[in-house]
Symmetry: C2
Subunit: 547 residues, 2 copies
């Protein structure tokens, strides 16, 4: 289908410019059909970009022989490591803009290689960008190396093994470069699972999840990878850091919590002990719909403040329901799922349904019968849902990024932003985003476009809304159009003191919002910690803190 | 009963030298009766120490008039603020050793007073020790001010109000100096509760809990105050830090997690938004006993790895059961409690009992009938337990520190240490502590003494054992005897990579173990953060990091 690309995962080919697998990308005809839904779309999609057509700058540096692996400076390797997978990244690639790819890609086989690379880079004044699956949607792996001798992308995916399983404590020591499916494959023989299933599961790594505080499968309780980390091992420029395996501790501020969310700026995560689950034996799901958004939010809040802890509790607003095919678009749709390894969940699901009905929800079908999961791979990794709406949702969920790419090829403006806020502020925030970001879309694109919302994770004290924007764009101007819409969204979030990101991380794109959000003394502390751990400031400069 | 003391809480008088309320201390006769259980005890207890008998050094500094409140330099105030409530503190007071009390006690009425005090102290080179309830058992509030012009104890208890309640999000903005009962009293009209009930509940503050990562009521899920904190406001010497109220976030490393466990070294916590609970309407408890420790641990592990999340899951070894009156001393005793605000807990309790029985446990009585709590104050704050053993335990739990003081007056060596480790290591750790600390007790005191253990908190991947030592001491040598036993305990914990503290904090006493435990790069980062936030190094010098 295209030129150069990275090949992984049993012969399937990863797209260097767009989401996921090349063979999952939409055909030109499908792109055109999607585009036809938007006003002013061109007749045919932009062509799939080819690495061979890129005008890459010559590498300014080379790795020492001892550190150089194969394919360190090939155009395909450099192009695929120079950016993440945000809309912004896709559009630039579609327009032949290669930007500033890393001069070289290092792919050490072990931690000693990471240590050697950091030592060399500090001496050589080379910036190092830790790189897991490369699925960042916030500019987390893009670095122009301004003022440096060069930039190395430090690809960790050769370190992809589960090294040790402690069945008694249900924990495993895992190398940070393992991608989601390979991790679950290695845990399956022990009957265990991490159950951390972000949308990027196939294309992101354990180390990346930890570095970015990724959000996963569970809608409640263990929402972030933070909760699943028992200890972390990382290489900093001043030495290796390894915390003890502890189920809980009160010994000073948590060392792990400094690395969780550090986004490659303080050290390179090489291993972690993670907390595992038994594979669920009991599952149930149900779907409730609501005519009124206030009722739907009240229902979800009641559920989040109960002790029922559903694994899935995804509320789609009418537009989101329509877009994902989970509903006709006139009602809010709440997809609920419960799972347990130890006990039937019929009662819990009955109580969830009761809470939904108490708040005006309609549960059309009787809850799907309790099923004993077989733990087989075919069950899939996103499969909390079991009824029709849940299955529809899951399928749409996994297709979304591919559709995003297709729409981008049709010149559309299509991107997401996500946040979290407390329940008292949530309705006001939702309305403000609808009004103000909606106005920005109309002003910028000349049409209302589509602005949808779902709650991805819920807490006793609040929830995490996830917004999607789809609008027609003017060819060549898409990015500046998106920049204006994104600026409007960040402005609304900041004014409502809603976090600039709930689980996508800060990267370079969210710096303006992040800088207004974090307490200034914490910024001072973080900068000081950075200077102590990375005195030459080689690690991922520009992310979280100024170089 | 004694001389000077601090008066709080409706006219009751707090002991300046020992635990809790003066009127709860054991009588001389009761002390003698307790002491008679130990070999070589004297006939009568050491007299209750009197502030008037202390030879306090003259204050080296005075507060500026604008900052000085009443009672800033009275001997009673200085003596009661100079130390915490560890065994070490009690023994020194009993022997008339006043040590190095603060030169002056400041008790600002508001945050502006805290800011002014820190500004003045930085200019005057005066060390500042934030002081909540003063219940530290790890030397957390003791500071000799070596090399400084003086030491101020910064008593925060005048800032004791709930400022705002958000019923919708179930959260409240609370001043950090509020003691446990006053906090719950202010939340009760809204039908809410923090449900953070450490043993020190009556004598410790919200700010102290946050600064020390205190462990509370819940045996599972929300074990530490960490989990109940939504945002923190703190005064650092370089400015006020305030994090946003967020139910969850992925925007960089968590600012709150740097202050949680900072033990007064990075800033003075003045307010926090905390996550609240509805008052439980349904409760059940049960007690299981086990002849075999391995069975008991297996049962508790199965429970911790289930999704039943009992509020109480306290396993007492036979010696602990005997000491607390919960059992005859020939069996392990597991006290279980479940509670819910939204649903009956009979089924959950039945499953817990089933898990206990599956692993060889005997549940003598049918579980106590489900009771609907009335939420009244009379229900008390430690009352997860409802059956006989649970009530016995609760009562003993609250008496323990008073008995500790009584034993100290009889010259006994009596102290606790606590830790956490993963399940795979727990049996080995338990045996090693029994053997090695047991040997140390015998070597130091000439008799086996008593060494008991309970699990206070349990996790899917491990548990937190809490050990108590009671042994006869030689008058005048008790502290050096305890120091040797404590050194042996820290050595065992470190070798087993079990945390030096699960919820008592590091303070000055745990520094040796802490310094071996925390990753060296984290120590560098923490020191750098300290320099950035507290450039004059005035805040609680010697705690966590070297001055």
């Amino acid at each position: 289908m295209t030129g150069a690309a990275t090949s992984e995962g049993g012969g399937r080919v990863r797209s260097w410019w767009g989401w996921g697998w090349e063979d999952q990308a939409l055909s030109d005809a499908d792109c055109a059909a999607l585009g036809a839904l938007l006003p002013g779309s061109p007749d045919r999609p932009l062509p799939v970009p080819r690495v061979a057509d890129l005008d890459l700058p010559a590498p300014r540096i080379g790795l020492p022989a001892a550190l150089a692996g194969t394919d360190a400076t090939s155009p395909a390797s450099r192009a695929s490591h120079g950016r993440g997978k945000a809309y912004r990244d896709v559009v630039r690639a579609l327009h032949g803009d290669a930007g500033a790819p890393p001069d070289v890609v290092a792919r050490p086989a072990d931690e000693a290689g990471v240590v050697a690379l950091l030592d060399w880079a500090a001496d050589a004044d080379v910036a190092v960008v830790p790189f897991g699956g490369g699925s960042s949607v916030v500019g987390g792996v893009e670095c122009d190396g301004e003022g440096r001798a060069g930039v190395v992308s430090l690809d960790l995916t050769a370190m992809d093994r589960v090294l040790e399983v402690d069945r008694t404590s249900r924990a495993a020591r895992v190398q940070a470069g393992v991608l989601g499916p390979a991790l679950e494959d290695q845990l399956r023989p022990d009957g265990l699972t991490l159950r951390h299933f972000p949308q990027s599961f196939e294309f992101s790594t354990l180390g990346g999840w930890i570095a970015t505080r990724a959000g996963g499968h569970y809608a409640t309780l263990r929402t972030h990878i933070d909760d699943l980390v028992e200890s972390i091992r990382a290489v900093t420029p001043v030495g290796v850091s390894e915390s003890w395996r502890l189920p809980g501790s009160g010994a000073g501020p948590s060392p792990d919590r400094l690395l969780l969310g550090s986004e490659g700026t303080l050290g390179v995560i090489t291993e972690a002990w993670v907390r595992l689950q038994d594979r669920p034996e009991h599952r149930r799901s149900a779907t409730a719909t609501f005519a009124d958004g206030a009722d739907a939010l009240a229902a979800v809040r009641a559920i989040a403040q109960s002790d029922l802890h559903p694994a899935n509790c995804r509320l789609l607003d009418p537009a989101e329901a329509a877009m994902s095919g989970a509903g006709p678009g006139d009602r809010w749709v709440l997809v609920l799922g419960v799972e347990s390894a130890v006990r039937p969940v019929d009662d819990a699901m009955a109580l969830l349904v009761e809470l939904a009905r108490d708040h005006g929800g309609t549960v059309a079908d009787a809850p799907a019968p309790d099923r004993r999961g077989d733990g087989a791979p075919a069950e899939g990794w996103a499969g909390a849902g079991r009824d029709r709406a849940a299955e529809t949702w899951r399928s749409a969920f996994l297709r979304m990024p591919y559709q995003r790419d297709a729409l981008a090829r049709m010149g559309a403006v299509v991107e997401t932003f996500e946040t979290a806020t407390t329940w008292d502020r949530l309705p006001g925030l939702y309305e403000a985003v609808r009004a103000e970001v909606g106005a920005a879309i109309e002003e910028v694109t000349g049409a209302p476009g589509l602005l949808t919302c779902r709650l991805t994770h819920v807490y006793p004290d609040g929830a995490a809304p996830y917004f999607t924007v789809v609008a027609g764009g003017r060819p060549g101007a898409e990015l500046s159009m998106w920049d204006q819409i994104k600026a409007a969204s960040m402005e609304v979030l900041t004014r409502h003191r809603a976090t600039v990101t709930h689980h996508h991380a800060v990267g370079r794109d969210h710096r303006p919002g992040y800088d207004r959000q974090r307490p200034e003394p914490f910024a001072l502390a973080l900068r000081a910690a950075k200077r102590a751990l990375d005195p030459a400031a080689i690690l991922n400069p520009g992310v979280l803190i100024d170089p």
